[in-house]
C-alpha cells in the first residue's frame, strides 16, 4: 500500500477482509519488501510531489519495469498513466493510457454507477467516482475491462498493471481486490518457477 497521501487505510481494511497481509509503504526499504503495490485515491498533485520529494519515483519505476504488480485507483490510475495532461509533475509513466483529470467536473458531479467489469463475475460492480478522472485513450497492449455508459473507460489492465478510475475500497465489494491479489500471486508463482529453473541449471 503506497501510503504517502490518500485513503490507504480503506484499502488495507479491504485486503484484511480477504485475509491478505498488507503494509504501508512510505520508504525505499518498505518498497523493496512489497510483492505488489496499490496506489490509493488521493490528490494526484500531492502524491506526485511526494514521490519525487522522497525519491521514490525512479526506484518504483524500476520495480515496475521488473514486473511488480501495481494497481492504481483514481489518483493512482493518474500516476500510472503515460499521459496525464495538466498534471504539473511527472507521473510514473508506465501504463500506456491517457488520463483526463477531473473529467466529470467538481465534487457536485461526483457519482455512483453500476459497472460490468470483464473478469469480475457475479453481477455489476458499484463504482464510486469522486472528482474522478477518465481514461480517454489506451495503447494497443492495454485491455479495457469496464466502460461507463458514456463510453469512457473506467478500468483497464496491461500485464501486471491495473487501473480503475473509481474506488472499490469505499464499498464492501471485495472482488477487485481479490482480482489484484490473484495478479500478485500469479507473479510470485512465476518468479518461484524461474528461481527453481535457475537452480536446476546451475546444479
Amino acid at each position: 500500500m503506497l501510503a504517502l497521501q490518500g485513503d490507504f487505510r480503506e484499502h488495507v481494511a479491504t485486503l484484511a477482509a480477504l485475509d491478505l497481509p498488507a503494509f504501508e509503504v512510505r520508504t525505499l526499504e518498505q518498497l523493496d519488501d512489497a510483492d505488489g503495490l496499490i496506489i490509493p485515491g488521493g490528490e494526484s498533485t500531492t502524491i506526485a510531489r511526494l514521490l519525487l520529494a522522497f525519491e521514490l519515483r525512479e526506484p518504483l519505476r524500476a520495480r515496475i519495469a521488473s514486473g511488480l504488480p501495481v494497481w492504481g485507483t483514481c489518483a493512482g490510475a493518474i500516476l500510472l498513466a503515460k499521459r496525464a495532461p495538466g498534471l504539473d509533475r511527472p507521473t510514473l509513466g508506465v501504463l500506456d493510457i491517457t488520463v483526463e483529470r477531473n473529467a466529470f467536473g467538481r465534487q457536485l458531479d461526483s457519482f455512483e454507477a453500476d459497472l460490468e467489469i470483464a473478469g469480475v463475475e457475479g453481477g455489476p460492480f458499484r463504482g464510486v467516482f469522486i472528482r474522478a478522472p477518465a481514461i480517454v485513450a489506451t495503447g494497443p497492449a492495454v485491455e479495457v475491462l469496464a466502460r461507463l455508459e458514456d463510453g469512457s473507460i473506467a478500468a483497464c489492465r496491461d500485464g501486471a498493471l491495473l487501473a480503475t478510475t473509481f474506488h472499490p475500497e469505499l464499498t464492501n465489494d471485495l472482488r477487485l481486490h481479490a482480482l489484484f491479489a490473484a495478479m500478485v500471486e500469479e507473479r510470485l508463482d512465476e518468479a518461484q518457477e524461474r528461481r527453481v529453473r535457475a537452480e536446476e541449471l546451475t546444479a
Binding site: G6, T46, L108, S110, E112, A113, L148
Partner: protein, 308 residues
C-alpha cells in the same frame, strides 16, 4: 460507509447517482494524510497547490487577521471564491457562518467542493446549525469533543475537524479537542451495549451514532485537526494523536517563508511517525507565525466556544 444521519439527496442523473452519502464522505477519505491550507488569493492558492496541499480553503482573511480586524466575519466574496476555484485543480473549500444556510446555498451554487460551517466566522444562528442533509455539496464542521462531533454528523456533516483555537498559532486547544474526541471514543468502547442509551443522552448525540462509534472504534467520518497548527512538529503531533490530516490556517501565510513552511508541513503529515524526516523538514523552514497564547484570550475572543 453506512451512517444513520439521514442523507437524503440521492439524485439520479444521466451518468449515475450524485450527492450520495458515499460520494460526499468519500471525498474526505481522499484528503486523508493531507494538508488543507487557508488561502486568501488565487496566488496563495497556487503556492499551496505547488507545495502539495490536498485542498485549499478559500477565505477573505486568515483567522489571525479576522481576529485583528474585528467586526463581523462573513462568507467570502463570491468572485474571490470563483477565482480561486479556477486557479487550482485540487478541491476548493469555503466557509459559511454557523446556521447561515443561505451562504451555504450560494457556495453550493458556485460549485465549491466542500463547505466548512465554521466558528471562525461570526455565527448567524446561536441555536441551530445548518441542516446539511438536504445539500448536494458535502460539509465539514468543527467540534471540541465527541458529543459535538456526533451532533454535527447527525445534521449531515460528512467530515469533522477538531476546532482548536483558530488564528492563535497555539496548538494547546487543538490537542485538548483531539484528546477529548478520542477519549470519548475509548470510553464508548468500554461500555456495555445496554449502557449506550444513557451515555448517548449524556453526550447529547443520537444513539445510532453512538452505537456506530462503538462498532467502528472511531468516528464514522474522517476527522482532521484544525486551529493552531504553526509548524511541521505541530502537524505531526496532531497526526500522532489520531488526526486523519490537518487544516493549516494562519500558520502558513503568516510565517516568514510560506512556500517552504507549506511544503514542510505536507511532508511532516506523510512521515508523521518518523522523527528523522521531521527533523529534516524542520530544517527547511523560516520563522513560524508569531502567534498568541490561546489561554490569554479574553472569553469574547475565543472562537471555539461558538456553536455547540
Amino acid at each position: 460507509m453506512a451512517t444513520t444521519n439521514g442523507n437524503r439527496v440521492d439524485d439520479a442523473d444521466e451518468r449515475g447517482e450524485t450527492a450520495t452519502w458515499r460520494v460526499k464522505a468519500g471525498l474526505a477519505q481522499m484528503l486523508k494524510g493531507g494538508v488543507i491550507m487557508d488561502v486568501v488569493t488565487a496566488e496563495h492558492a497556487r503556492i499551496a497547490e505547488e507545495a502539495g496541499a490536498a485542498a485549499v480553503m478559500a477565505l477573505e482573511r486568515v483567522p489571525s487577521d479576522i481576529r485583528a480586524a474585528g467586526g463581523v466575519a462573513r462568507m467570502s466574496h463570491v468572485a474571490l471564491v470563483e477565482e480561486i476555484c479556477q486557479s487550482v485543480t485540487i478541491p476548493v473549500m469555503a466557509k459559511a457562518r454557523i446556521g447561515h444556510f443561505v451562504e451555504a446555498q450560494i457556495l453550493e451554487a458556485i460549485g465549491v467542493d466542500y463547505i466548512d460551517e465554521s466558528e471562525v466566522l461570526t455565527p448567524a444562528d446561536e441555536a441551530h446549525h445548518i441542516d446539511k442533509r438536504g445539500f448536494r455539496v458535502p460539509f465539514v464542521c468543527g467540534c471540541r469533543d465527541l458529543g459535538e462531533a456526533l451532533r454535527r454528523i447527525a445534521e449531515g456533516a460528512a467530515m469533522i475537524r477538531t476546532k482548536g483555537e483558530a488564528g492563535t498559532g497555539d496548538i494547546v486547544e487543538a490537542v485538548r479537542h483531539m484528546r477529548a474526541v478520542w477519549g470519548g471514543i475509548r470510553r464508548i468502547e468500554g461500555l456495555r451495549d445496554d449502557e449506550l442509551a444513557s451515555h448517548a443522552k449524556e453526550l447529547g448525540a443520537p444513539l445510532e451514532l453512538v452505537q456506530e462509534v462503538k462498532r467502528l472504534g472511531r468516528l464514522p467520518v474522517v476527522n482532521f485537526s484544525a486551529g493552531g497548527v504553526a509548524t511541521p512538529a505541530d502537524a505531526a503531533l496532531m497526526m500522532q494523536l489520531g488526526a486523519d490530516g490537518v487544516f493549516v490556517g494562519s500558520g502558513i501565510f503568516k510565517s516568514e517563508q510560506p512556500a517552504e513552511m507549506a511544503a514542510a508541513i505536507v511532508k511532516a503529515v506523510t512521515h508523521f511517525e518518523d522523527p528523522a524526516v521531521l527533523a529534516e523538514v524542520s530544517r527547511e523552514i523560516g520563522e513560524p507565525m508569531r502567534g498568541q497564547s490561546a489561554s490569554a484570550l479574553p472569553p469574547a475572543e475565543q472562537l471555539a466556544v461558538r456553536g455547540n
